[in-house]
């Protein structure tokens, strides 16, 4: 059996591999240095690469992302960490107005090859301002690439592609997955941005998931297997580029589509996936497209309340049963 590694250690491993390969890769963020990050996702980097390349910053999100942008425009490949994705709002100008628009509005004169890593999502009882899934915020901005891995090997492979990308990438690490384990990635492992994975093949229904909703979808698919249902689970891995070819091909085989997303239904990425399937795959469908998304409220604190809001295996199983009975 291959070596197992946690998702959190995979982040540090992925960063270390890129920093060894390319001396222009530098990291900056709050508590990422000797402390190893509040989620311990940068453990070992400070010891190996030193304070020049693993920089602790003040609690200044605009300076973190703004400086990463200026460095990226001038020959450095910065990886900036925004501790909780909710805090992206503190530096949203850079992600909405500066970084994604720079290349376009200068007529292609300037590229911005940077990565903004951030811990996304709920399920850990951190309350409304430290739990939201905000990948849909980034999806609303043309000019950002978006990765959101669901397992350790993909963390390493997508991080490698993100760092090497000449375009800006927002890299969502899911807090609920940090302790999960999976196979590590072989040396040189690269997962291209914009290439979905079929996490579980099936023939009866397509379930499209991302990050923490991938294990939820897989658990639901396993539960339904005893009733003879073969659900196919697609791990999108990226929202931009969005691998709709894989989704449409799968729906062509299953004729049913369920989308499982942790961001709110209101403005969630599943709406974009659904609209493309409705537009380009209408004739493939034998049932309405369904979405299991977060309820349109802030994330509550108590476990019992949080489970009401975000997707769970039970909700996905129920949605699949309804969809298959249509």
């Amino acid at each position: 059996m291959a070596d197992l590694i946690t998702y959190r250690d995979a982040v540090a491993e992925g960063l270390a591999r890129e920093m060894r390969r390319d001396p222009s890769v530098v990291c900056l963020g709050e508590d990422i240095g000797a402390a190893g990050g509040v989620f311990k996702t940068t453990v070992g980097l400070f010891a190996e690469f030193g304070p020049e390349r693993v920089r602790d910053t003040p609690i200044s999100e605009q300076a973190i992302v703004g400086m990463a942008m200026g460095a990226a425009m001038t020959g450095i490949r910065p990886v900036a960490e925004i501790m909780f994705s909710d805090f992206l709002a503190c530096c949203w100008d850079y992600l909405a107005n500066e970084i994604p628009k720079m290349r376009y509005m200068t007529g292609g004169q300037v590229t911005v090859p940077l990565v903004v890593r951030t811990a996304n999502g709920g399920g850990l009882g951190f309350g409304a301002q430290h739990s939201q899934s905000v990948e849909n915020w980034a999806l609303a901005v043309p000019g950002l690439k978006i990765a959101a891995p669901s397992n350790p090997a993909d963390v390493i492979g997508l991080l490698a592609s993100a760092v090497r990308s000449d375009d800006p990438v927002v890299f969502f690490e899911h807090k609920g997955l940090f302790a999960s384990r999976g196979e590590t990635a072989p040396a040189g492992h690269l997962v291209p941005l914009g290439q979905a994975a079929i996490a579980r093949p099936g023939t009866d229904v397509t379930v499209v998931a991302l990050a923490a909703t991938v294990p939820i979808a897989l658990a639901a698919a396993a539960e339904l297997e005893s009733t003879g249902v073969k659900a196919e689970v697609i791990d999108l891995r990226c929202l931009v580029p969005l691998d709709m070819a894989t989704v449409l091909e799968s729906v062509g085989r299953t004729s049913r589509l369920l989308i499982v997303e942790e961001n709110p239904y209101q403005g969630g990425w599943g709406g974009t996936v659904a609209s493309i399937v409705a537009d380009e795959g209408f004739e493939l469908l034998d049932a309405p497209i369904r979405r299991v998304a977060a309820a349109c409220v802030p994330l509550p604190f108590a476990d019992a309340l949080e489970d009401e809001v975000i997707p769970t295996t039970e909700k996905v199983v129920a949605a699949l049963r309804t969809l298959l009975a249509y």
């Binding site: 460095a71 001038t74 850079y94 500066e98 200068t106 300037v110 043309p142 375009d167 070819a245």
Partner: protein, 328 residues
């Protein structure tokens, strides 16, 4: 004080005259319906851009604001490509994708004009950090208005640039007004940029932003300090915009006599007086002024004659591969 000889100063004077003429041309072209959107003209601010540029090296980095025509031209963007940008022409410096507020000439180290107030101070600090990491002697310069001194990014940038001792210059063009509101009426500091510097352990100077020699002198000292590894400097250049905030602003909020007072300290007149002091003959000064006028006239003609932007260009240049595809 920096020594600027008559020949050099005559060149700076001509550059300022080209900028002034181009700004007036932009104003006229707008009134003629050939420039759309808006413009934020820098007439009156020429000495800040030209004086600073004279003190910088070609590989240094400059970051400016939406009032940035003067910085683009001072760094080497041609008046023709700037006017073409304003006129939505294919030959515009940003292929007509940026417009007046985003003039950029990366090949000349002019890394953008930013229209979200204060946003580019951290970006400039990042370019300075890059120079520090790469071990070059480059400096980065952020030019910003007085209004930017009350936004968070200003303070985050000054703090971190100071802590990391970055080779960056923060140069405020204090023209007394944010948009329509006087900066003094909303700021708890007499000098909105310079007075804040001490809070970040940074040296600061208030300088005459209408005197191109004074600007060159201060910037050259600040740049030398940055290149020596001694960190950032805050400069507050006092100046005045001759037009309103933007195209639609008649600037009727200015107290009576204020514009006239500042016009009596026009940066072009101050440079002319210095030229005369240095013994440069009036005929040579006039010849420089005429060359500037000719440059502007031919830039206007060139921009007018250029092809309009190709609509197909709307879907290029988003990604590094030149395209805009976001899905398969």
């Amino acid at each position: 004080m920096i020594q600027v000889d008559g020949f050099t100063l005559l060149g700076l004077y001509e550059q300022m005259a080209v900028i002034r003429g181009t700004e007036k041309a932009a104003h006229d072209l707008f009134l003629a319906g050939l420039v759309k959107g808006t413009t934020h003209l820098a007439a009156g601010h020429e000495a800040v851009a030209v004086g600073a540029s004279a003190a910088l090296e070609p590989d240094d980095y400059v970051f400016a604001t939406y009032r940035g025509h003067h910085h683009a031209m001072a760094r080497g963007a041609s008046p023709a490509e700037c006017l073409a940008e304003l006129m939505s022409k294919a030959t515009g410096v940003c292929k007509a994708k940026g417009g007046s507020m985003h003039l950029t000439k990366a090949s000349a180290g002019m890394l953008g004009s930013y229209a979200i107030v204060g946003a580019h101070l951290p970006i400039a600090a990042g370019a300075a950090w890059s120079a520090q990491l790469r071990g070059t002697s480059q400096v980065a310069v952020a030019f910003f208005g007085d209004g930017a001194t009350n936004i968070g990014a200003f303070h985050e940038a000054l703090n971190l640039a100071s802590v990391w001792s970055l080779p960056v210059l923060f140069i405020c063009e204090n023209n007394l007004y944010m948009e329509y509101t006087p900066i003094a009426s909303v700021t708890a500091a007499d000098h909105p940029a310079a007075d804040r510097a001490a809070g970040y352990r940074l040296p600061a100077e208030v300088i005459d932003g209408n005197d191109v020699v004074a600007v060159a002198d201060a910037v050259s000292r600040a740049a030398a300090r940055a290149r020596a590894g001694d960190g950032p400097t805050v400069l507050e250049a006092e100046t005045y915009r001759h037009f309103g905030h933007s195209r639609t602003d008649p600037a009727s909020y200015r107290p009576e006599g204020e514009l006239e007072e500042w016009l009596s300290r026009d940066p072009l007149d101050i440079a002319r007086a210095r030229l005369t002091e240095l013994g440069v003959p009036e005929a040579e000064i006039e010849a420089a002024a005429q060359r500037a006028a000719d440059t502007v006239a031919s830039a206007v003609a060139e921009a007018k004659a250029a092809d309009s932007a190709d609509p197909a260009e709307a879907l290029t240049d988003l990604w590094a591969d030149g395209g805009h595809q976001w899905r398969t």
